[in-house]
Amino acid sequence: MRKKILCIEDDPETASLIAEEFEERGYDMALAHDGQAGFSAVLKLHPDIVLCDVSMPIMSGFEVLDRLTELTPRFASMPFIFLTAFGDRDNQLKGRRLGADDYVVKPIDFEILDTIISGRLAKVARTELWSQQIDLGDREVECLTWAARGKTSTEIAQIIGTSKRNVDFHIENACRKLNVATRVQAAVKAVTGRLIEP
């Protein structure tokens, strides 16, 4: 499965060059030309990784990251990398303190950027491998997600349109697959392993 990179960059030429290079390297590329559009694209496209410029009209890269942090734990495992022409220490410190996973100063060496991207995605890859091994069914994922959101079996049954008995059955199955005793443990493990998004 090809990984999806969202590149938020106000200079269209730079953006298209990055897209050209990384499509060739086997990624799906999405582009946004200002902070606001970039933030919407994150919500809409759920990219695997974000490359973001700092200096942009309407909403700066710093603001985009700030807004994403507010949404935690959503996108908690989506690497966010600044790609900027601001090479000075102050801006770099600011970016990293805001929680950026990396801070790359332009001009960009595509080779190095590719290493950074694949390095960041590799961590995600391991957990995805594990999630494939666990192999939760759709109904199990659904029930566990609602359980993690604090719903009772009866409520979950109403929400997903089935019986309470079935809900309990799915959750018990999930517990067995995750090798835990209670639904609380199951929810925690599933969330940390990125099997579900609470």
Binding site: T14, V54, A85, D88, F110
Partner: protein, 547 residues
């Protein structure tokens, strides 16, 4: 505050003459007018007054004493002696009579013996009286008495001789006539002397009483004079010592309460109080100097802090400028580098068209780079050298339209709207500088707005000539805290983070307007947009050089 300092300084100047360097040589403790001498003199004066008053009283008393002595010793003695004399005289006369009555020889002898004794007593009394000093009147009467007594005694002796001889009837006749006459005369005279003496004694007595009264008056007068003298001395000491000391104490209290605006009296005095006053004045001057140096210190500290703050701001501005410049250079460099990397990667499968396009893009990035360099250098030149205005006639409508057109071309998607009213056909000014001015404002308006958000450029003729241009955007706006620094060199808005810019543009705008005698206003709200309003005079003034 400054008023106080000025007054204090004036006080220092005024007293400077009194207590400056000449103060030290003027120290003369124990000088002619020292308080020690003054107090000693006052005490001595008291002592002298007491002694003088005592001596005077004693002298007057001895006068009174002398008069009473005179009465006692002279007049009373005289009266007593005269009395004795009178008694003895009477006894003598009686003895004479007794002798006449004596018949026997024994009786005669005894009578004669008694008369002789009485005569001796009379003589003794006379001698006693004569030995006393007497007034002339008494002496004259006494001399008369003595002569008459002597005459009587001769007659009496004759009477006695007759009686002794036995011629009693003759003797009795003589006793009753001549002798009796002589005795009465002497007795009368003595009586007059007695009266005279008593009158003299009375007179002396009255004199003594008068003297006593007069002396009493004199003593009272002397006491009154002494009292006035003592009062005068007390008042003088109060005036010259006590009051100035209290005044100095008050001054010291005021100084202690940090009131330095006081004048110190008595610094010209030669005595200890003058010395103290000069010391207090020195103390006051030190206090004033202290206050002044404190103020100076505070001012210096403030100035230092200001300088430091300026330095800090300058450094921040410089860093901002460097960061922005670096950013501006890196952006086209990124394109060049990325294209180069792509060229390397595509080297085997490049079509000539592809190559052409990429090379063209590299060249345009280089053009952008050199443009930035030129702009930065140009800005620096404008900022560092004395900007010169090259005025000529120009058409403002054309100029504004060209600026708008340029930004439509450079910023793709920019919605720049022109709303021009009736504009002057020609104006006088430097079109190149003015182009830069409006270009800067438009570039800001586009840069700090969302893509596609409209930017209005409204121009009209000012009432009374000149041009009024509004450049309005609906972008991020300018926070209130940045408004005051907007036109400072290298200053960037606190919400401009993440937007490229050198912080030079608005500074240049302000400079160009200054050169043209124009003005600029800003209306802005953070998050709602900004409107820059440029007032440009018609431009009939002479070309101006910036300082």
């Amino acid at each position: 505050m400054s008023v106080v300092i000025r007054q204090a300084a004036r006080g220092a100047n005024r007293s400077g003459g009194d207590i400056g360097s000449p103060a030290a040589p003027r120290i003369r403790p124990g000088g002619p007018r020292s308080i020690r001498i003054l107090l000693s003199a006052a005490s001595l004066l008291f002592l002298l007054l007491v002694i003088g008053l005592g001596a005077f009283s004693m002298q007057r008393l001895s006068d009174v004493n002398r008069v009473s002595d005179e009465i006692r010793n002279q007049w009373l003695q005289d009266i007593r002696l005269i009395g004795d004399l009178n008694n003895y005289m009477s006894d003598y006369r009686a003895g004479e009579g007794t002798h006449l009555l004596s018949n026997t020889a024994a009786e005669l002898a005894a009578g004669e013996k008694e008369i002789a004794a009485l005569n001796a007593q009379v003589i003794r009394a006379q001698r006693s009286y004569e030995s006393q000093p007497h007034e002339a009147a008494e002496q004259r009467l006494y001399d008369e008495f003595a002569r008459e007594w002597a005459e009587y005694k001769i007659i009496a002796t004759q009477v006695l001789a007759l009686s002794h001889a036995g011629a009693k009837p003759d003797a009795v006749a003589m006793y009753m006539t001549a002798s009796r006459r002589a005795f009465d005369m002497a007795s009368d005279t003595l009586g007059r002397l007695t009266d005279q003496t008593v009158a003299g004694a009375d007179e002396a007595s009255a004199r003594a009483a008068g003297a006593y009264l007069q002396d009493g008056r004199l003593i009272v007068a002397a006491m009154v004079v002494a009292t006035f003298l003592v009062l005068a001395i007390i008042i003088y000491i109060t005036r010259s010592v006590s009051r100035p000391l209290l005044g100095l104490a008050r001054d010291m209290h005021e100084l202690a309460a940090h009131s330095t605006n006081i004048s110190i009296r008595g610094t010209q005095r030669d005595d200890e109080i003058g010395e103290m006053a000069r010391s207090v004045a020195v103390f006051r001057d030190n206090a004033i100097a202290l206050v002044q140096s404190q103020h100076r210190l505070i001012e210096q500290t403030a100035a230092l802090e200001e300088t430091l703050e300026k330095e800090r701001r300058m450094t921040a501005q410089q860093r901002n400028f460097v960061a922005m410049t670096s950013h501006e250079f890196r952006t086209p460099l990124t394109v060049i580098d990325a294209q180069a990397q792509r060229l390397i990667k595509l080297k085997d499968r490049l079509t000539p068209n592809d190559l052409l396009e990429r090379a063209t893009r590299i060249r345009s990035a280089v053009t952008r780079l050199t443009g930035i360099m030129d702009s930065l250098l140009g800005d620096s030149r404008l900022l560092d050298e004395q900007a010169v205005c090259h005025p000529c006639d120009f058409d403002p409508a054309t100029l504004l339209h060209e600026v708008c057109q340029l930004h439509r071309e450079t910023s793709r998607g920019a919605d720049i709207r022109e709303e021009f009213g009736e504009l002057p056909s020609t104006m006088h000014g430097d079109p190149k500088l003015l182009f830069g001015l409006f270009s800067n404002l438009l570039s800001n308006a586009v840069k700090y707005s969302a893509a596609g958000s409209p930017v209005d450029v409204m121009a009209r003729t000012k009432p009374g000539g000149g041009l009024l241009v509004h450049v309005r955007d609906h972008g991020i706006g300018i926070p209130d805290r940045d408004r005051a620094h907007l036109f400072e060199r290298y200053y960037r808005g606190t919400n401009a983070v993440g937007v490229a810019g050198s912080g030079v543009g608005l500074h240049l705008v302000a400079m160009v307007l200054e050169l043209h005698g124009g003005a600029i206003e800003v209306e802005s709200r953070a998050g709602e947009g900004s409107t820059f309003i440029v007032h440009l005079p018609a431009g009939d003034r002479a070309p101006v050089r910036a300082d």
